[in-house]
Symmetry: C2
Subunit: 160 residues, 2 copies
DNA sequence: CGTAATTAGATTGTGCGCAATTGAATTGCG
DNA sequence: CGCAATTCAATTGCGCACAATCTAATTACG
């Protein structure tokens, strides 16, 4: 029932489409894998990413978190308010620069890290490959992201 | 600048977090790369994925498209209505099984494929690696997705 | 035949993700 | 100092993503 790929134009779009599907599917599979693990913690996947950023370094401005995760204030503002409502973080204006809102962990937010370790271990198991493979995949994805981002910015400036 | 991994617990969460960030970032970088290319076609990235599925095989039920892309009716129903409003597809009940809604390409939808070839080529360029590397990455991602999906389903059935 | 179980799709509600706009604070410059 | 440009967050609007619920059609089974 499958047609042979004999059209070169079609070959191009096919690989593109497959890489499309693959990365799209893998990202969502990741989210779905995390969901049952994060539900007991009361976190969504993006919220979990924000918490990781804060566990790595507490008391960051919104901008820093956004840069780390590639999210803008339109996404982060409501997300952080929900984390605040959950009692995991506090938001307060920086005294030296009142434009900035600094996000800090509460006691509850700090304590949640212990449980998150369990989540990470479960994910490590679900990923089902060695540390070396995981590292390699991570690096490939980072490199891919950088190439894509670079290509995008060149596209932009070439039009000037 | 890199710290040596001497804390096993912390190592786990760190690698997990990094793979997290990496796949999350790569997926979004992909979407952002597509956006300027798809805007002229009047398509979003998920809509583009649906169109690819239809270009590969026309006249599919919603369910088949959902299985292909891993999306449910809650996502596809409104998305397909938008594609219908754009004049790219038609939706009609299957005569033999009235539960199914079959999605077919219009003339306009079929013709859009020619332009999409240009998109695919631009993406191929932005990905910036050889066909072989792209194929390898695709396969790794597919394998990762399968492991994650499998781990998730085992988790579910183990509770019975 | 008729009822139960299954299946396909639509709808509702919550939470991202991002572009565009707004508003307040800070910085730069004359 | 005063004013323009910049920066940071918040808000608004649109489009996914997905769980939960609902309706209608089909299939299974007694």
């Amino acid at each position: 029932m499958q047609k042979k790929p004999r059209d070169p134009d079609n070959l191009g779009i096919k690989l593109d489409a497959q890489l499309c599907f693959a990365i799209y599917g893998a990202a969502h599979a990741f989210t779905r894998t995390y969901k049952p693990l994060l539900d007991p913690l009361g976190l969504t996947y993006p919220q979990y990413l924000v918490m990781i950023a804060l566990w790595e370094e507490d008391d960051q401005p919104v901008k820093a978190i956004g840069d780390r995760l590639g999210l803008d204030s339109g996404t982060l503002s409501p997300l952080l308010k929900r984390l605040e409502q959950s009692g995991l973080v506090t938001r307060r204006r920086d005294r030296d620069d009142e434009r900035q809102v600094r996000i800090s962990l509460t006691k509850k937010g700090t304590e949640l890290k212990a449980q998150a370790t369990g989540v990470a271990q479960a994910i490590g198991k679900a990923v089902g490959c060695s540390l070396e493979e995981a590292v390699a995949l991570r690096d490939e994805l980072i490199a891919l992201k950088q190439r894509l981002t670079k290509a995008g910015s060149e596209e932009t400036q070439s039009s000037v």
